[in-house]
């Protein structure tokens, strides 16, 4: 990356760094002292309930939303002073759809490329390439309203790559997609990561986070409440396996295991070695139960699910 060679050497492998990052909206502290370091080439996840501050962080990284306090660098640059340079080198998939409704798929990409400084001819070629890549060449003349939600999402993703970005910020890229479309996006994102792009991925889909993220952090009310690699987080907060028992029933949960109740179901987190003990106890009292491996959803619920946010 010759363009970033003037960045401090220590920063070279870190595409995003934040220290004590804060953002207030009036009295509300949306982001409250977040530390973060995203390495080049990794997919870094931002998880957290609604209103946790994920989009606010993304917009600060995007150099659109000014920060209230703290340090932040993106590609070694300061979003406060070098916003245009940063935005020239990143791609953004926003939460929701902001394609231009009056323009065809082709023109959406083409005009966007022009915003990044591409010449007329170059922009046209780039837009065609990206539509090809999104497998939407045959729909190039359609306007967004004529396309399905999944197709629009693919165009938005393609649009984020119009400037051959080094860093992609993805804010809930697969929300409202059907399983096929979601898998397709995942395949894409994996491919981009293999090509060396760095990804900052916000998602509510724990399966997605587990599949794609090398590391992630869980936010709640603007603060980081957990950080790490998905398997480590699972191990730490949800052990190895989970038994689900319908609540309203009672049985003495052995002291050694951790359990929690959400929405009418009791979740028991335990090590594989404890399986016999637990299932024995449950069978003895005649309660139906399900056993499965622990996953990131368990981690998320354990960390943030104590009260439901509206």
């Amino acid at each position: 990356m010759s363009s970033s060679s003037y960045a401090p050497l220590s920063m070279d492998d870190l595409v995003i760094t934040a220290a004590g990052l804060k953002r207030r909206f009036g009295a509300l502290v949306a982001v409250d002292g977040v530390d973060l370091a995203v390495e080049r080439g990794e997919c870094f996840g931002l998880l957290g309930p609604n209103g946790a501050g994920k989009t606010s962080i993304t917009r600060m990284v995007q150099a659109v939303l000014p920060r209230t306090e703290g340090a932040l660098t993106v590609l070694g640059l300061d979003p406060g002073r070098q916003g245009a340079e940063i935005r020239a080198r990143i791609g953004v998939v926003p939460q929701g759809d902001n394609l231009d409704p009056d323009l065809s798929a082709q023109m959406n990409l083409q005009i966007y490329a022009r915003f990044f400084g591409a010449g007329a001819r170059e922009a046209e070629i780039r837009a065609r390439e990206l539509l090809e890549f999104a497998r939407l060449s045959d729909r190039s003349e359609d306007r967004p309203a004529q396309l399905s939600g999944g197709m629009r999402r693919r165009i938005i993703l393609a649009r984020a790559m119009v400037n051959r970005s080094e860093l992609l910020l993805l804010d809930e890229p697969t929300t409202a997609l059907d399983p096929q479309a979601r898998h397709q996006v995942w395949t894409w994102l994996k491919g981009l990561k293999e090509d060396g792009l760095s990804l900052l991925l916000t998602t509510h889909d724990m399966d997605e986070a587990e599949r794609l993220c090398d590391r992630l952090l869980v936010l709640d009310q603007g603060r980081v409440i957990a950080e790490g690699r998905p398997p480590d987080l699972i191990r730490r907060y949800a052990k190895e396996q989970v038994i689900e028992v319908d609540a309203g029933t009672h049985w003495e949960v052995p002291e050694a295991v951790q359990c929690e109740t959400h929405g009418g179901t009791t979740y028991v987190y335990f090590e594989r070695a404890q399986l016999g003990l637990l299932t024995g106890a449950l069978t003895a009292v005649g309660l139906p139960y399900r056993v499965r491996s622990a996953n990131l959803e368990d981690v998320f619920l354990r960390l943030t699910g104590r009260d439901l946010r509206t």
Binding site: Q62, G83, P94, N98, F116, G117
Partner: protein, 257 residues
């Protein structure tokens, strides 16, 4: 890319959109002044006493020359009220644009550029119509184009401030009925400013009056009053700059936080 180049890209996007329905748009630009000219110029104009008009002018030419400026005002204003508001709210176009190297203030300058271009083209239709109906329009009217562009840029910028502060389309009516319509009626489009007697001088610095004076002189092949030229080169750009800043400040709060 430099700041102005980035604004130009925004303007190009709008121009591209406009081209998609330019036929209808241009037809409207010609039809509207033609209708006004027919009603006011040929109809009412016949009943008017020429002695109050400048030398060498009938009412049709008098009114038509004022219309050159007022069409620019109206067209630029409407574009940056309704058009810009739709782009900002309904279509999230602003949000998409500021995710690129283009900043919010550059987007707004681009919007004002577009309003200026579109409105200037619309206003060009007026002298064309005047010539077609056989009025002796001086070729010097072409020199008025830069003044029209500046005037339209000014009204485009003012409309952005109003748009930025409006919760919905309904609010534009306050600006249209309380500012634009009175300006249209009292800036010398319909009657000479001399009618205001001692207040005529004050009426001459109203932005639309500045444009009307310039176009009216040029239609007759005369050099416009120095004051109008100076105001066009100083007051209008200065206020445009201020309005663009105010619009940016409000939109920064509203769209970004």
């Amino acid at each position: 890319m430099k700041r102005l180049a980035r604004s130009w890209r925004v303007c190009l996007r709008h121009l591209y959109m406009w081209r998609q329905h330019a036929g209808a748009s241009l037809a409207g630009n010609v039809a509207e002044p033609l209708l006004y000219l027919l009603i006011l110029g040929f109809g009412m104009g016949e009943m008017m006493d020429r002695s109050a008009l400048p030398e060498g002018m009938n009412y049709r030419l008098f009114y038509g020359s004022g219309l050159i400026a007022s069409v620019a005002m109206m067209s630029a204003s409407f574009e940056n009220l309704f058009g810009a508001f739709t782009r900002m709210m309904g279509q999230r176009t602003y949000e998409a644009m500021i995710a690129t190297p283009i900043s919010l203030s550059e987007v707004l300058v681009g919007d004002a550029m577009y309003a200026a271009i579109k409105a200037s083209l619309a206003s060009l239709a007026v002298p064309v119509v005047l010539v077609v109906v056989g009025e002796p329009v001086s070729p010097m009217i072409l020199l008025g184009l830069p003044a029209t562009v500046i005037l339209a840029f000014f009204f485009g910028s003012a409309a952005l401030v109003v748009m930025a502060h409006s919760p919905d389309y309904g609010w534009f009516n306050y600006y249209i009925t309380l500012v634009l319509t009175p300006m249209f009626l009292f800036s010398g489009v319909f009657f000479p400013l001399e009618i205001f007697g001692p207040y005529a001088e004050a009426a001459r610095i109203v932005p639309l009056s500045i444009g009307v004076e310039i176009q009216r002189s040029l239609v007759l092949g005369q050099v416009p009053p120095m004051q109008s030229i100076i105001l066009t080169l100083t007051l209008l750009p200065g206020l445009s700059w201020l309005f663009l800043r105010l619009a940016r400040r409000k939109l920064q709060q509203r769209l970004i936080g």
